[in-house]
């Protein structure tokens, strides 16, 4: 194996029944067109999808582990944000 110098791409696949594209993994490819085809070969071999998105991994801005506490800790003690204190009328089938 030669050292991979191709950029990394994140792959999102929309399944037959799904409404949204879900992240399924990442792969290397020289450009977007090849990334799409690689994704087809690597992630949809068993008819998993009807649509594929590829996004350059470099284009993703991610929160860093050091920021975890200031980012997420404040939500920990605010249980009232969960919709568990309401009585849902029986007539409401979906919420």
């Amino acid at each position: 194996m030669t050292e991979a110098r191709e950029p990394l791409w994140e792959v999102f696949v929309r399944s037959k029944r799904g409404l949204s594209h879900n992240h399924v993994g990442s792969l290397h490819a020289p450009d977007a067109e090849m990334a799409l085809r690689n994704a087809r070969d690597v992630f949809t071999r068993r008819m998993e999808g009807v649509s594929i998105w590829v996004v350059p991994s470099a284009a993703i801005t991610a929160s860093s582990p050091e920021e975890r506490d200031p980012f997420f800790e404040p939500a920990a003690d605010k249980v009232y944000r969960h919709p568990t204190f309401y009585d849902i009328p029986k007539e409401v089938k979906q919420l």
Binding site: T2, L27, H28, P30, E33, M34, N38, V42, R45
Partner: protein, 249 residues
């Protein structure tokens, strides 16, 4: 249908089946050796498509030639001289450019062949062609994209891609040969040549590659005459079956 015409279709089908099997095995030899994991999966996917096409064709051939042979008997039970694949598909993988060139030259031919066979008077062959066509369109797309990237890539990739074309080009002449078999087989490959050349020329021009001059035209694959490396490939492919006939897992 006369007996001769019947034999013609049987042999014609067997030639196509052998093309599929041999090219499939060559591509499978890239397994775990391709430049990247992604390409490893892509090449072995194509190999599996071709193996599936080959299996359908062997089943059809077994009925047409009246032998009732199993696909394993065709694949593992015949010697080199009984294989009727063209010499192009048996050529060694070489570097990645040579594999891409072989794919481009053969898959483009196969695409035109399957298109024509969709109208075959043999209904089974027409159905196999229709199914195979969607697969082969992807094979052509894969080979085309790599040809463009290697041809119009770096100095080295361009040189390697051009060298691969020069190496394999002579073997394309055999694809379009006429004989009694193709006359009865439903499609005369020589009629596909102009469309094939137009497709190949369009890709090569965009990839900044030169179409090689035809220097010589090796031939014989369709009559069971093969190049040196094919015997080694068969020996490896058939080794297990010959040691343990009928082995399964």
């Amino acid at each position: 249908m006369s007996v001769a015409a019947h034999d013609g279709i049987a042999v014609f089908t067997l030639r196509l089946a052998d093309d599929c099997l041999v090219l499939s095995h060559r591509l499978a030899q890239w397994s775990s050796r391709a430049p990247t994991l992604e390409e490893d999966v892509a090449l072995t996917n194509i190999a599996l498509d071709l193996l599936g096409q080959g299996r359908s064709l062997y089943a059809l051939a077994a009925g047409l030639d009246g032998s009732g042979r199993s696909e394993d008997e065709y694949a593992y039970g015949r010697d080199e001289r009984q294989f009727l694949n063209c010499q192009l598909v048996e050529q060694e993988n070489g570097d990645f450019a040579q594999t891409v060139a072989r794919q481009l030259l053969y898959s483009t031919f196969q695409q035109h062949l399957w298109s024509a066979l969709e109208a075959s008077r043999d209904e089974t062959l027409a159905a196999i062609a229709a199914k195979a066509l969607t697969e082969v369109r992807y094979h052509v797309d894969h080979a085309t994209r790599w040809t463009l990237r290697l041809g119009d890539g770096t100095v080295e990739s361009h040189e390697r891609m051009q060298a691969a074309l020069e190496r394999l080009w002579p073997y394309t002449a055999e694809l379009f040969e006429d004989d009694d078999v193709v006359a009865n087989g439903g499609v005369e490959p020589r009629l596909l040549r102009a469309a094939w050349e137009a497709d190949i020329d369009a890709v090569l021009t965009e990839a900044t590659l030169q179409r090689p001059e035809p220097a010589w035209a090796p031939s014989g694959g369709r009559r069971g005459i093969h190049t040196e490396s094919f015997g080694y490939m068969l020996a490896e492919m058939q080794h297990l079956h010959r040691c343990h006939p009928g082995a399964t897992w």
